[in-house]
């Protein structure tokens, strides 16, 4: 398994986790009705 494959498969997981948390903050002040 090449380094690139490792970076893409595992790295993308952490990037998306980070983006999910960022999205949670992004929508924090937009809710509540």
């Amino acid at each position: 398994m090449s380094t690139l494959t490792g970076i893409v498969v595992i790295g993308s997981w952490f990037v998306l986790l980070g983006l999910t948390l960022a999205a949670y903050r992004f929508n924090r002040d937009r809710g509540d009705d």
Binding site: M1, S2, L4, T5, V8, V9, S12, W13, L16, L17, L19, T20, A23, Y24, F26, N27, R28, R30, G31, D32, D33
Partner: protein, 484 residues
Amino acid sequence: MAGNSVFVGLIAYLVVMVVIGIISSRYMRTLDDYVLAGRRLGPWVAAISERASGESAWFLLGLPAAAYGAGFREYWDVIGIAAGILASWTFIAMPLRRETARLGALTLPDYFELRFKDKTRLLRIVSMVVILFFYTAYVAAQLVGASKIFQSILGLPEGSGQLICLVIGLVIVVAYTIMGGFLAVAWTDFIQGLLMTSVAVVLPIVGLFTIGGFSGLVERVAERGPDFMSVTAGTTGSAFFFGVVVGGLSWGFGYLGQPHLLARYMAIRKTSDLRRGGMVAMGWTLISYWGAPMIGIVGLAVLGPNLADPEMVMPQLAVTLLPGWIAGIMIAGATAAMMSTADSQLLVASSTLVEDIYVRLFRPAARPESLVLISRVCTVLIAGIAFVLAWSALNNPGTTSIIDGMVSYAWTGLGASFGPALLCALWWKRTTWHGALAGMFGGMVSTIAWKQIPALGEVLDIKAACVLISATLVVGVSLATSKE
């Protein structure tokens, strides 16, 4: 296949689904209840059920089969899909829930008409055509998938056996959908979503233990060559970028415009729940989707490269590695994936017929009780048409590619028709009626064109091309017709 214990696991699961339908039917009085569960869903049920209906037969059969054949390059699909799910929950869910509640819209065609104050009814009619056209094929593909699995478990012959299995799948899905409406669909999908996750996680892990961990895996798949273990799949330059990366990532575009998923956002209790819902949905995705291709990769190592039907890699792996009754429940997970998709789509298609045609165009003052009854009749009607389509597909040679073809066709068609128009309608004030109409129409027509003319697919992948065309039309036509 593995006989009685597998069968028991499957039957137990189907009984639970019907019981949920019966319980949910007690909570249902109006069309709002039938179509959106009275907007009472909590974040966990809304999120997990959205994920379960978003992932059809493709998730536990198609994707593992693709990874079984091509290896790690399938992770590009996974990344695109996860990004699409995240974008959908972040940029569409909350404004859509807020706007549809404010405007009193029950369905996507409702929303478009009210958002653009459309007196001509054209937006409603075009979106209705898109929904009925693509969903009938989509439901039919799910029924074909369910029938194939039932048939292989029960060991029935082709022909009459397939017909019986098709009827079993149809009756169960229709039964709990018409009894319990959206509430039943949401709760059965919730259970199905949890089942799908456990399959995607447990099977690869058990498989890896069996073959001696990751080094055992590398050893066993070595005969496929180094490309199997690489995300580049042996390509370089533009073949790598446009073929492998863009082709894989573009799966994500479809998520922005699937009415059966959008219905989940509209049905959630309050908009602040959508924030937690998004986290739950992404948690599901980050666990399940990184596991699903591993089913195929580990499947190659355990079962060898000569499976007759690669789409059966998940069921075969379950039967090989696990005790019968657990394998039965895992295989039920695959039928769960199909049913959770088919039920939601049936509901969207029937709500389109009732709410978008009957109520809005003919009988605005119809009584709530009679609308629920008419919705149930329409559900049966659409299921019947899908059944006929499924049966004729099963009687065609090359059924496997028909299922795959139908799913990716419907996925692209819905995503391209609704995604860009919806995103602009929610976020860009200058979006005009003309722009939305052009985008929807362009998305539908380009999907059909890309399907009919294979040469176009060589220029750019269908999933990326049609969304791009639709988005260009929405923005371009809106700018041209905007009065500001």
